[in-house]
């Protein structure tokens, strides 16, 4: 391990206890306890080891449900790993998921202040950043309107502006590059590139392979919570596309074996191909 890393993760694992995940009632819990059923467990991530240096931009790619978002949640400190160690050096800011509205009844400005407090920024800093956040979000008169009147694109713009304005050491982005209109997309790409250039670490979850090839230094392919490949964006993207195609073909073959209706097959192939 080099000494100058921004993020180091060693044998990271996140386990979900399905017993508590949604729809648990006292009745089923008591039944489980009385019958001594072992807890149903599920590893969303396991044996994930990687390192990110300052100034690097890491893409995390993989099919849906591979654990990409869970990885970002761990890096952001939202979730604690069940095993292994994660060391994140520096201030982290993240935009995980679209439309980070803090309070839909409050105005855009009030949401910026509230967001700053949620992120743990000192009050003076938020006041100082406020004009630039408002400026970047470019919402016009809507900045003083309640958040519930915003479109989802506008909410995402405000969220992106808040998350990136704090000038974090490490920026975590989950599928946010595709937000807003074309104009804002260009602006947000420029902002991310700026942050990458300013020797900050970026971890990005995306399905936009063009972006990965063009702007990331490294990439990780996750499948079913395991790292399949870590390496240069070109080879990782290539492998990912190969494996998606292979998975789609396998599904098709399986469907044919089961004697399914050919119309359903066409749909399955289209879904696989787009990824």
């Amino acid at each position: 391990m080099s000494q100058n890393y921004a993020i180091a993760s060693a044998d990271l694992g996140v386990r979900y206890n399905l017993r508590f995940t949604r729809k648990t009632t006292v009745r089923t819990s008591v039944a489980n306890f009385v019958l001594r059923r072992p807890p149903e467990r599920f590893w969303a991530l396991r044996h994930v080891t990687f390192e990110l240096s300052h100034g690097e931009s890491l893409a995390v790619i993989g099919p849906n449900g591979a654990g990409k978002s869970t990885l970002l949640q761990v890096l952001a400190g939202i979730m604690r790993p069940s095993e292994g160690v994660v060391d994140v050096r520096g201030q982290v800011s993240g935009l995980l998921g679209l439309g980070v509205g803090f309070d839909l009844d409050l105005s855009g400005t009030e949401n910026i202040l509230l967001g700053g407090a949620f992120l743990g920024l000192p009050d003076g800093k938020v006041q100082e950043l406020l004009p630039s956040i408002v400026d970047f979000a470019d919402l016009g008169a809507f900045i003083d309107a309640p958040l519930k009147t915003y479109s989802s694109g506008m909410q995402a713009r405000l969220g992106f502006s808040i998350a990136t304005a704090v000038n974090p050491d490490i920026l975590l982005l989950d599928e946010v590059l595709a937000t807003g209109d074309a104009n804002f997309r260009t602006k947000s790409k420029a902002r991310v590139i700026e942050l990458v250039k300013a020797a900050k670490g970026v971890v990005l979850v995306t399905h936009d392979m063009e972006w990965v090839r063009e702007y990331c230094n490294r990439a990780i392919l996750l499948e079913k919570g395991r790292v399949v490949l870590e390496g240069s964006p070109e080879e990782v993207v290539e492998l990912h596309l190969e494996r998606t195609a292979a998975a789609a073909a396998a599904r098709q073959a399986e469907a044919i074996a089961k004697g399914l209706d050919p119309a359903a097959l066409a749909g399955g192939r289209a879904r696989g191909g787009r990824r």
């Binding site: 648990t24 160690v85 520096g90 920024l121």
Partner: protein, 302 residues
Amino acid sequence: MLPFRAMSSGDAAATIRQSPGGPSFLTLLRQGIADIVSRRRLIRYLVQADMKKRGTDTVLGNLWWILDPLLQLVVYVIFISIISRRPAPDYPLFIFAAIVPWKWFSAVVTDASGSVVRAEKLIRQIAFPKIVLPLSIATAEVVGFLWSLVPLGVLLLLHPARLSIMLVWFPVIAFVQFVFTVAVAIFVAATNVFFRDLGNALGHVLRLWWFLSPGLYSINSLESTNFVQEHPIIGDLFGINPFAVLFEAYRAVLYGTPDGALGTAHPPDLIALGVLLVASLLFLALCITFFKRVEPEFAKVL
């Protein structure tokens, strides 16, 4: 290995180091208190946001803070006048001294139980100390409680013979109740994440608790009833019911002795109140620790 630290303050060199394993009781308690102290401003914003939203949807707005306890008083006065042959003298004041504090408690507990679950989206997107959620609700409800003191004050002024200097004890009793309330709020907020049934059961538990507490009656009058003489356990329950202590204390300073004689306001039972305060502080420490212990699971369960 450094203990786990959530995305904290603005200092640039903040380091997050995460590893599994359970910190000790005192570490958790210290972390919980540090969370609260370092996020005072967040709690303030959340309280302000709550204030702003309340009443904006209704015609009468904030007036409901005064109307709510008054209407509840009217309901109980009508109900008791029908079923009871001989209610205590100045009965409205007798029960209002308990209704107002109880409304405060039940509002906090009901609202706090859903506080973490409601913030589900935020919890999955940002790391922040979740304990601010039930705390901001408990704090916001203090304002509601202060508003409900307006009708209580008016009712007291209508009975000038019952006014006394003993009212200085009122804030002390309210403080003890606040400590107990915050502890319960933190507890239900965390538990409801894992057992959503709590939300359904809570309303009934609170109602039963209210009727088993000496709010509409005095402890003395209860001990003489047949039911309690046949089931002594009901009587014993009062020994461990914080609201038996609190209601008796409120009534001592606002109303006087339970027999209703005028000018009998007296200091509350300070020993009982002191014991309750110490027990509540311990319970609060336990609840903060419990909350901190299960907090890392919230993002997975929600």
